[in-house]
């Protein structure tokens, strides 16, 4: 009886510790939400207010009308969707070829692709910009999206997963006279849906949060993505904290929404755990 009681108190203590940690960790996010509903004078009050006295939506309408945030939002959505579709298609295609076909130079190619994962993207940003400039893609959607169309991590992930699909499926389809490309999109793609889900999550987060590359490539206001627009917003409206917070909420909400819906896949996908498991 005593042991049970001790275990119970210990259990409660663990929970309390975790709860405290959760509050500390979530606190800045909660503040972001609550400040986005405050009028400016409540943000600048001493002592600091945690909740708005009367929540108002005026901040949100203001960032959309005065700052036309919807345009940047749309740019971000467009970039993310395009890169996502390209990544799903090309990463599985290349992963399939690396996993199931024997052709000369295959292993070297795979090693080289893995090697690119070790290079920090900041190192190649300047030559990449020069390349984009010589292609005439500066300040264009192509210049922004093209360097992200295939991710080395995605190729690695898809290759590892497709390797675990039995060869017999492919052989059977070949004997039945299925064309090679049809095998890919009718058999391989549907079978590798779990890996595609992981890939989508990783790509979505990476591209939505992309900062340095759009900052360099995009110069005209109409083509800016959300993170860059926020950056500019911060320097133009540095004192309108409530508007800043509302804009931050808009930039965060799609990711948070997806995160709450697909949380398990999100965490496993982002940490690469589902990729390592095979």
């Amino acid at each position: 009886m005593k042991a049970v009681k001790k275990a119970f108190t210990q259990h409660i203590l663990w929970h309390l510790a975790l709860l405290l940690g959760a509050i500390v960790i979530i606190f800045p996010i909660i503040y972001m939400f609550s400040a986005s509903f405050m009028p400016l004078e409540e943000v600048f009050s001493t002592p600091v207010r945690l909740w708005p006295s009367r929540p108002r939506l005026l901040n949100y309408s203001e960032i959309f009308t005065k700052f036309s945030l919807h345009r940047y939002f749309l740019n971000s959505v467009l970039l993310t969707v395009f890169t996502l579709v390209c990544n799903i298609f090309f990463c599985s295609l290349v992963g399939y070829s690396l996993a199931k076909f024997k052709f000369p130079g295959r292993d070297i190619l795979f090693t080289l692709i893995l090697a690119t994962m070790m290079i920090p993207s900041n190192v190649i940003v300047i030559p990449l910009y020069l390349l984009i400039r010589s292609l005439g893609w500066v300040n264009s959607f192509w210049g922004l999206s093209f360097p992200h169309v295939i991710a080395p991590f995605g190729v690695f992930l898809m290759r590892q997963f497709i390797r675990s699909i039995p060869d017999d499926y492919i052989d059977a389809a070949r004997i039945d006279g299925c064309s090679e490309f049809k095998i890919f999109y009718r058999i391989i793609m549907p079978l590798s849906l779990p890996a595609i889900a992981t890939l989508s999550v990783v790509t979505f987060v990476n591209i939505w949060n992309l900062f340095l590359w759009p900052l360099i490539v995009i110069s005209s206001d109409a083509k800016k993505t959300l993170p860059i627009a926020l950056n500019q917003f911060l320097s133009n409206y540095a004192n309108d904290w409530n508007l800043l917070m509302a804009a931050s909420v808009v930039a965060t909400s799609p990711i948070l929404l997806f995160f709450f819906v697909f949380n398990r896949g999100f965490i496993e996908g982002m940490t690469g755990l589902s990729g390592l498991k095979e």
């Binding site: 070829s97 076909f101 360097p147 190729v155 990711i255 948070l256 995160f259 690469g272």
Partner: protein
């Protein structure tokens, strides 16, 4: 056995009949072609170019002139470079080492509670998924000396108007704190995956052999020489370690890679970190 051999034989025959080897060579190459072109143009070309430009004097307007190692000499001699190198080390170690300990501690805590831990995990993981720029904006506001959220903690303690981001001594620790906040949950999940995969029997066996909790933990952590509980159990120890060791290595690699993120915040705030 015979059936399996027969199956393999028929497979080889059909493979020959429909020319699979040739098909594999051609289509494998065709399918890999987008990647070959892409990685050659967008990764290897810039890498080679980076190396090449480093040996030239070039202002992007006049044609580049070859200079040999001069750029490197200038770089190594400049005090600015030494300063930024030192700051990078400061930032990297200041972030990585606390993250190891906090993430591992939290992972152990999570491993204790089996029931509702997923809910906690979702809450803990939020800082990782939000955009870095948003994190920077929110924290910049939290760090405001007189109206920031942190004054709620510092004011009762008697500190007023702390220049978190503008003082040369406090700026770096403030950035480090933000990085720890944003980075820890990621590594926590990785540690947790390692801890969960350790079979309970190992822990129990070690406890029966008289190892205390601390020793069991050390053994799990992977340093087999330091893990205390008697050499006799070395085989057990050896069997425990593989489960978390690769995870640790994976973690360290990721920590190093992800610290390129510090760039954007430094650029974000115009304060000098000198």
């Amino acid at each position: 056995m015979g059936a399996l051999r027969m199956l393999k034989q028929t497979r080889r025959k059909t493979a020959k009949r429909i020319g699979v080897e040739k098909v594999e060579k051609i289509y494998g190459f065709i399918f890999a072609l987008p990647a070959i072109v892409f990685f050659a143009v967008f990764y290897f070309l810039p890498i080679i170019k980076t190396l090449q430009i480093s040996f030239y004097r070039w202002d992007f307007l006049s044609p580049p002139a070859f200079e040999g190692l001069r750029n490197y000499v200038v770089l190594l001699k400049s005090s600015e470079f030494h300063n930024s190198l030192w700051k990078s080390f400061y930032y990297a170690f200041g972030t990585t080492i606390p993250i190891w300990f906090i993430a591992l501690g939290l992972a152990v805590l999570f491993n204790r509670i089996t029931s509702t831990s997923w809910l906690y995990l979702v809450v803990y993981y939020i800082p990782v998924v939000i955009p870095l720029i948003v994190a920077c904006i929110v924290w910049q506001i939290m760090y405001h000396p007189s109206y920031g959220m942190l004054t709620l903690i510092t004011r009762p303690l008697g500190f007023v108007d702390i220049p978190w981001l503008t003082s040369s001594r406090l700026a770096m620790p403030s950035i480090i704190l933000l990085s720890i906040w944003k980075g820890t949950p990621f590594y926590m999940v990785i540690y947790l995956a390692g801890l969960v995969s350790i079979p309970k029997e190992y822990t129990e066996a070690a406890q029966i052999d008289g190892a205390n909790k601390y020793q069991v933990f050390l053994a799990h952590y992977g340093s087999s020489s330091k893990a205390g509980y008697s050499l006799r159990d070395c085989h057990l120890n050896h069997r425990c370690t593989p489960s978390i060791r690769p995870v640790l290595r994976y973690d360290q690699r990721w920590t190093r890679i992800s610290h390129k993120s510090c760039y954007s915040l430094r650029q974000r705030n115009s304060f000098s970190v000198s």
